[in-house]
């Protein structure tokens, strides 16, 4: 999805930024750092804007040097977003965001959308997080995701084609494997690890 938007972005002057909420260090997961991660991606698209260099110099010059404050960060982020015709912010696993950060994150996103109405936000997460999202964005568009039959069949076919012992495969066995996996799709995951484990059970 990000790649598809990025392809579009190459043709038009739009920006796509991505965030995964399961940051390895929860200590670093503050609302200021998350907003900073968005700004970083926007700033990394071209030459570093002078006002960012200046903000850094000012922060460094203060006693002991300090990181940006949330209000400063939001101001810098607003400038960056306003300079672009359209910005897509994509957030994966919003439910893995620290609970203390979640309301602030949604509030900050709402304020960004209000100030720069051409901002679009893509969120993935477990269903329960939908309530939180709708509290801030009542007209959220929702797409329920379940394991996709076509995606899984394609995946299984490719794995079978790459099998290390192709001579052990027959058409019947192949059809059995694909059929059995498709039947059990509702109980399984589309992630690569579980699919390959299941495939190994059939292979040996």
């Amino acid at each position: 999805m990000i790649d598809s938007l990025c392809d579009q972005a190459k043709r038009e002057d739009i920006a796509v930024v991505g965030l995964y909420c399961d940051f390895p260090s929860q200590q670093d997961q503050t609302i200021t750092n998350i907003m900073g991660a968005i700004l970083k991606q926007l700033a990394g698209r071209g030459a570093m804007p002078n006002h960012l260099r200046q903000a850094f110099q000012e922060g460094k010059a203060e006693f002991g040097g300090r990181g940006p404050r949330l209000a400063d960060m939001m101001r810098l982020l607003r400038i960056a977003i306003a300079s672009l015709p359209k910005v897509f912010i994509c957030i994966d696993a919003l439910d893995e965001c620290l609970p203390k950060c979640l309301p602030e994150l949604l509030e900050s996103l709402r304020s960004i959308v209000r100030e720069s109405p051409n901002t679009r936000i893509f969120i993935t997460g477990r269903p329960h997080i939908g309530e939180d999202v709708r509290r801030y964005f009542p007209k959220t568009l929702v797409i329920p995701i379940s394991p996709n039959t076509d995606d899984i069949r394609n995946y299984v076919e490719v794995r079978l084609d790459r099998d290390a012992e192709p001579e052990a495969m027959t058409n019947d066995l192949r059809a059995d494997i694909v059929g059995a996996i498709q039947e059990n799709i509702s109980d399984m995951c589309v992630g690569t690890s579980s699919s390959s484990t299941l495939l190994m059970m059939y292979t040996y």
Partner: protein, 71 residues
Amino acid sequence: MSSEDAQVMCWLSPLEPNNRHQGVRNERFDGVGDWLLETNEFREWRDSIGGADNAVLFCSGNPGVGKTYLW
């Protein structure tokens, strides 16, 4: 990037979201999630112009259904 610009980037945030997208992209199979791009909700969201309405697209699913791979 100059070393000063690199310092500005670090100062903005210690988080490095780009690294992880690269990892997901490498693991993902071609064509996975293409169906999402064809939905009315996705198109409406992508093409809508301005305002808080339709600003957010939420893909909702239980753990392990492959949400991350839609990226």
